[in-house]
C-alpha cells in the first residue's frame, strides 16, 4: 500500500532524508524509530504530499503522491506531528469538517463522528471548544480526526506523545484494530516499547538514513543488552571489582559506574552486598532503560 523509493529531501544544506526506500503492505504496522532529527517527520510529510521530495517517489495505493495527489490523499488518514485541531471549534465540528474534506456524505459522517466521539471518550466535551480541553483530550481529538476517513493507509507521527498511559493504550488498541481491518499503518515513535509492542517491522532511522529494518524480536534483544544499572559509591571503585555475574560490560561515566546487564534485578542485590561487605556506601543507584543510541549501535552492529 505504501511504496517508497529512494526518497530524499534536502533543506538548504541538510540531507534530512537520504535515499530512503521501504514498503508497507496491507495489514501491517511499520514503525519508523529514530532519535530527534532523524528525518521521520520529513519522511511522513513527503508521503502526505505537503513537502516535495528532492528526489525519489512515494506511492500510496499505487498512486504517486506528486502526480495524483488527490487520489492518494483520499486513501489516507493522517496524524501530523504536533498537529492541532481547530481550537475555536468543538471536537464534533472538527470531526465533521474532516468528514466534509474527505467527501463523506452527511448522514455517514455524522454517524462516524458520533462513534469516534464515543470511542475516544469525548462525549462529555464534544460541544466544548477544543481550546478548553486538556492536552491529552486535544491529542485524542486529533487522532480521531485521522480516523474520520475509512483509510487504507494510516500515517501517524508520534500519535501517543503527550498522552497518559490509559489514553496511549486506547490509541494503540485502535491502531491494532485498524490493522486487523486491513489498513497499512506507518507510525513514528521514540518509544522502544511502543514500537516493539505494535509493529511487525521496525525501521531504525538516523541522520536521514534507514540503518536497518528489524523484526521486534531483534529489537528486544538489543533492548535487553542496553539496559544498565548505574551506581555511585562513596569511595572510588575499580571497574573490575563490580564485574559481577550477568554483567556484560562496565563503563565509567564521571563518578558513576554503569553496569550493562540483561537482568538488572539480579545485579542490584549484588551491588548492595558488595557495598555492605566493603563498607563502601552507595550514594545513588538506578536502573537505566534502553537508550536509543545504544540500541542503534547494537542493532546496526556497531556495539558489542
Amino acid at each position: 500500500m505504501i511504496e517508497v523509493t529512494q526518497l530524499t529531501k534536502v533543506f538548504d544544506t541538510t540531507r534530512a532524508v537520504d535515499a530512503v526506500s521501504f514498503t508497507v503492505s496491507r495489514e501491517e504496522i511499520f514503525g519508523l524509530l529514530g532519535p530527534n532529527g532523524a528525518g521521520k517527520t520529513t519522511t511522513i510529510r513527503m508521503l502526505t504530499g505537503i513537502l516535495k521530495p528532492t528526489e525519489g517517489h512515494a506511492r500510496i495505493g499505487g498512486y504517486d503522491i506528486q502526480e495524483h495527489p488527490l487520489e492518494a490523499k483520499q486513501l489516507m488518514g493522517i496524524v501530523p506531528e504536533m498537529a492541532n485541531a481547530y481550537v475555536d471549534l468543538s471536537p464534533w465540528r472538527n470531526l465533521l469538517l474532516m468528514g466534509e474534506l474527505y467527501g463523506i456524505p452527511r448522514k455517514e459522517r455524522e454517524k462516524k463522528a458520533g462513534s469516534l466521539i464515543d470511542l475516544f471518550a469525548l462525549s462529555e466535551k464534544m460541544h466544548h471548544r477544543v481550546r478548553t480541553l486538556s492536552k491529552g483530550m486535544h491529542q485524542r481529538v486529533t487522532v480521531a480526526m485521522a480516523l474520520m476517513n475509512t483509510a487504507q493507509v494510516l500515517l501517524l507521527d508520534e500519535p501517543t506523545s503527550g498522552l497518559d498511559v490509559e489514553s496511549a493504550r486506547l490509541i494503540r488498541d485502535i491502531i491494532r484494530t485498524s490493522r486487523e481491518e486491513g489498513t497499512a499503518v506507518l507510525l513514528t515513535t521514540h518509544n522502544l516499547q511502543e514500537a516493539d509492542e505494535l509493529c511487525s517491522r521496525i525501521a531504525i532511522m538516523n541522520h536521514g538514513k534507514i540503518m536497518a529494518v528489524e523484526r521486534p524480536e531483534n529489537l528486544k534483544r538489543a533492548i535487553k543488552c542496553s539496559t544498565s544499572v548505574e551506581v555511585a559509591f562513596a569511595q572510588e571503585v575499580g571497574e573490575h571489582e563490580v564485574w559481577f555475574e550477568s554483567v556484560n560490560r562496565v563503563e565509567r561515566k564521571g563518578d558513576r559506574l554503569r553496569l550493562y546487564t540483561e537482568a538488572p534485578e539480579l545485579v542490584i542485590p549484588l551491588v548492595v552486598d558488595y557495598s555492605r561487605s566493603t563498607q563502601n556506601l552507595i550514594l545513588s543507584l538506578s536502573t537505566i532503560g534502553p537508550d536509543l543510541e545504544d540500541v542503534f549501535l547494537q542493532v546496526t552492529g556497531g556495539g558489542q
Binding site: Y86, L89, E100
Partner: protein
Amino acid sequence: MKVIGQLERSLAVAKKDLLVYFLKGPTLIFGLLLPSFLFIAFAIGRDLSVEFLMPGLLGMTVFFTTSAVGPVIAPWETRMRTFERLVSSPIAFWGIILGDVIASSAFGLFITVIVLTLGALVEGVGIITGYLVVATVLSSFCFSSLGLMLSSHPTSDPSRIMMLSTLIKFPLFLISGVFIPLSEMTSARFISMLSPLTYYVDLARLSIEGTGYLNPGLNVVALALWGSAFFAIAVLLHEKNLDKRF
C-alpha cells in the same frame, strides 16, 4: 477528481473560516464600524450630497471588509498548526484558496448589504441596479483574492501580513476614484485605471448618480479580469511557498 466534489470541499473550508475567523464579536463589530468611520471621515465638514458620497462609501466598504480578515488565515493556520492537516486532505490547493475567498466575500457582502440597505432607505431602492449587484459580487471576489494573494508570504506571524497588505491596499485605495470621480480627473485618470476599485466605484456611480465615466461592460470585464488574475496568482504563490511553511 470531480469538480463538484472539490467545490463542496471548498464550501467546507469556507464554513470553517466563517466559524473560526469571521463570526466573532470583535471581527463583526470592526466590520460594521469600519464603514461608519470611513463615512464620517469622508463626509464631515463637506457639503456633499448623499448620491455623491454613496458610491465612494460602498467602494470603501467592499474593498476594506473583503480584504480585512482573509490575509490572516494562512499565517494563523501556520502558527496554530492546522494548515498541515488541511493541505494533506484530499482537496485541491485551489479549493482551499477558493474556500477562503468565499468566506471573505461572504463576510464583506454581508456588511456591504447592510450599508446598501441603509443607503436604499435614505435614497430609495432605485439605486440598486443589476450592475451594482453584479459589480458588488465580482468586487468581493476580486478584493478577497487580492487579500489571499498578499498572505502567500510563508510567515506564521499575522501582523507581518497585515502590515504588508496595508502597504499594498492603501495606495490602491487612494488612486481609485473613491474621492474624485474619474470624469473630474485629468492625467491621474490613467493611474486610477490601475486600481480594480476604480471600476467598482464607477459602476456604483452609474447606479446611484445615473452616470459613470467608463462603459459599464468594460467595468465588469475589468473587475472579472483583475479578480481572476489575483486568484490565479494567489494559488500559484501559496503553492510555491508551501514547503517553507513547515
